[in-house]
Amino acid sequence: MTRGWLYRLPLPALLAASALAADGAAAPAADPGKAVAFYLVAAVTVGSALGCAIATNIVRMAMCLLGTLGGVALLYFLMSATFLGVIQLIVYAGGTLIVIVFGVMLTSRAYGVKLRPRPVEVLAALVVCGALLVGLVAVLLRTDWPAAPAGGAAEGTVAALGGSLLSVYLVPFELASVLLLAVMIGAAYLAQPALPTAGDGAGPEE
């Protein structure tokens, strides 16, 4: 009976309870609440990424990408990079993702054609990506990273970021603006409908 009750408790409650229990005695270095938040967000992020990999429907992939992007934004929040988190939401979730979904809608009219990879390809990709993951994780775990400094203050980050963008990184900043201009022109040029040639008597098709 008791066991059943325990098993039916939602997972967040368990985590939260453990977090609360640890809260009283915990040293300031180990912030269990933060850890719980991290694991939750990480689960969402990686889960969405996996969903991206598994999904066959392109719009579902886009939605999973939304989950990943949002998760990464939350991770930025967790790392006190508030400004970046917000920018990630604005530019990625609010801009890039919409553009992607828009692109999907413009290009997915070929119903009935399923674009599926062959099993060999999937197998090869699995092997390669798995090997890469194993290797990366092994390297990461074996590396002795320097100890984390005291928690960085989120306050003043925006001003500092702005300052460095306009001083140290001024040239990349300006280059990025030039690039954006070029992209704007290039995208408009690429996506414009083909101009009717002189030989065409008919107007643009409706």
Binding site: D31, A35, A53, T96, P146
Partner: protein, 103 residues
């Protein structure tokens, strides 16, 4: 395990990277490949921010991430423009069909 450090973020980013690579290699839809690329970019950006937070580089990592985000947006815009054109020319979005240099 309760102290979140650099390694946690790096492992997470590695997982994202591998997912992104998997997506890029197995999806035949060109937009799918783009989505995979975005995943990979996010993994890289996450690493940058993590190093900015836990390393000694100050805010440099965050600035780099800003650039990553901006460039990714530019990349997506241009990529979608190309895909629309591609679709217009080939009447499909299958990336495997784009293996010739002629339209």
């Amino acid at each position: 395990m309760l102290t979140i450090g650099l390694t946690h973020y790096l492992v997470l980013a590695a997982a994202l990277l591998c997912c992104g690579l998997y997506v890029m290699t197995t999806k035949r839809n060109a937009v799918g490949i783009l989505i995979g690329a975005e995943l990979v970019l996010n993994a890289a950006a996450l690493n940058l921010v993590a190093f900015a937070r836990y390393g000694a580089g100050g805010l440099d990592g965050q600035v780099a991430t800003l650039f990553v985000i901006v460039l990714a947006a530019a990349e997506a815009a241009i990529a979608i423009a190309i895909f629309v054109n591609y679709y217009r020319v080939l009447a499909t979005i299958d990336a495997d069909r784009g293996d010739t240099l002629k339209g």
